[in-house]
Symmetry: C2
Subunit: 315 residues, 2 copies
């Protein structure tokens, strides 16, 4: 057995340990097979993480496993989809069984936490890169898209923002201060909002996961929906275990994997208390276009929304 | 618009130009959406091609587009699945619009030829790598797996083998000899056997696409099915436009993307003439294990089938 064959065998138990009902055939054939329940649609997204670009080159493989899968599953949460399974295309510069076992450990923990099964994959030699495609299902026609926001509706977020950005400067520190711990937890172990996404089906008119920063990602919703918005920066939550991210980190920092959600006032009242308590209303949707920041001191700041809404982005 | 944003916009027309009915929502949201027809299952496979490992570093991008998609679709053909859509995760060292346009051109040509739509993707900066996940559908329970081969059945292949391996030494030649043209065509423009795969549903008991070489890939079927086989090397087709690949290339060369199919005698008789004419019977399945080559001079050669059938391989 070649050294890469050995690495491949490490992933077999992961597929077996995380099996989900929708998976008819897992790894080991030319293709995997999934059954989509009657009256449901398949929802899927592919994402690549490159060492040195999307995570530090020497990043801990257990954390890498969790974080890669969490970031991918977050796209399912934004559509209101229930996670089912995923494929992993892993490119490795060399066959290091210890490193691979740790990665499998992190993936297994995340797979169990999110209820998603490894259904197939490909392992090849090359620069360190992980590509994950996640599969979920939604009742037909109920996926929450980016394009449904309407004037008068509320803009909400599902948790504090800016933590992952605030963590960046501490990532490689041997002994980060206690005040950085909340930030670091957010970077290393993001929590995709699947349960919240599912409860927002039929109530939210648009949603996106915040991977590029609140302003940029809200901008994608505005472009796709053909509307504008007013945001109150003072209402954006940014407290992590008692330490605040800066306003810039909260508005522009990526990788938090909370959701930005648009919903009418009436929907907010229909939500169970536990769900409504997880939503911070931070602004409202307006007719027209553009994004305005309504600062507490009365200053109004125009934000340039990324031009040329890009249909090959954000999957 | 950043330079990578510009590259992303090149893929939008490709998604629109190749649209297929099963795609409910294409690129541009957090996820894409696919509808799987009632009574059908989703069949999917992910594959990565790394520059310098799976194709030459300076390989023509039009050819790269065709070849990458053809190799991926070949996995659907091996399951007897009908192609529907695919996602593309593309990692690029720099944003070269001319190169990207050529890649899109090759992908579009292949997408139309195979009837498969671009449904989503991700473009990131990093070492040149293409990861493609293809989606197809089959009537429930009718996918052709590797594990159904039974003693007494026939081993067949769907076309001449060894051409892509024979092409390798000519790939970077400025003016290859006319005798190499058949080989080069096979390397640059492999033709996945989707129509044949579909017609073999319910008739073939096992199939695999020949990406690692006939002996290795037949070995995967034998391992998965728990049987052995006798192969007659003299019957393996290896003629490309009048030039023969060597026997070693035909038995061990990869990247031809023909199918190796197992089927009972009776199934061969039920096939339409055009399909039966596309099958070369090269051996038979036996009880027990192992793969024996029955040479024309009476010599019997035992081939070591790769041990430890690997469930994380071949997707």
């Amino acid at each position: 057995m070649g050294e890469f064959e050995l690495i491949r065998t490490l992933f077999r138990p992961l597929a077996e340990a995380t099996w989900q009902d929708g998976v008819v055939l897992g790894p080991g054939d030319d293709c995997a097979i999934q059954r989509v329940p009657p009256g449901h649609e398949l929802v899927f997204s592919i994402d690549t993480l490159v060492a040195g670009v999307h995570f530090p080159a020497g990043y801990d493989p257990v954390r890498l496993g969790w974080r890669s899968l969490a970031a991918a599953v977050s796209d399912l949460a934004a559509m209101g989809a229930d996670p089912v399974c995923y494929t992993l295309a892993l490119t490795l510069p060399d066959a290091d069984p210890g490193w691979a076992k740790s990665l499998v450990g992190g993936l297994e923990e995340a797979s169990r936490a999110f209820g998603i099964a490894l259904a197939g994959g490909d392992i090849t030699r090359g620069p360190l890169t992980l590509t994950i495609q996640v599969h979920g299902t939604v009742p037909e026609g109920q996926a929450i898209r980016r394009s449904g926001a309407r004037s008068g509706e509320l803009v909400a977020v599902t948790g504090p923002l800016g933590g992952a950005a605030a963590a960046l400067s501490w990532l490689e520190a041997a002994s980060p201060p206690a005040s950085a711990e909340g930030f670091l937890a957010r970077y290393h172990r993001p929590q995709p909002r699947c349960e919240l996404g599912r409860q927002l089906r039929g109530l939210a008119t648009a949603a996106i996961d915040i991977s590029d920063g609140l302003l940029a990602d809200l901008g994608h919703i505005l472009e796709a929906s053909g509307v504008g918005a007013e945001l109150e920066p003072g209402r954006v939550p940014r407290n992590f275990d008692g330490t605040q991210a800066t306003l810039d980190q909260a508005l522009n920092g990526g990788d938090d994997y909370e959701l930005c959600v648009i919903l009418p006032h009436s929907a907010l009242e229909q939500l169970p208390g536990s769900v409504a308590d997880s939503l911070w209303v931070v602004g409202k949707v307006c007719a027209g276009s553009g994004l305005r920041l309504m600062h507490a001191d009365g200053v109004i700041e125009e934000v340039s929304v990324p031009m040329g809404y890009d249909h090959f982005r954000g999957q």
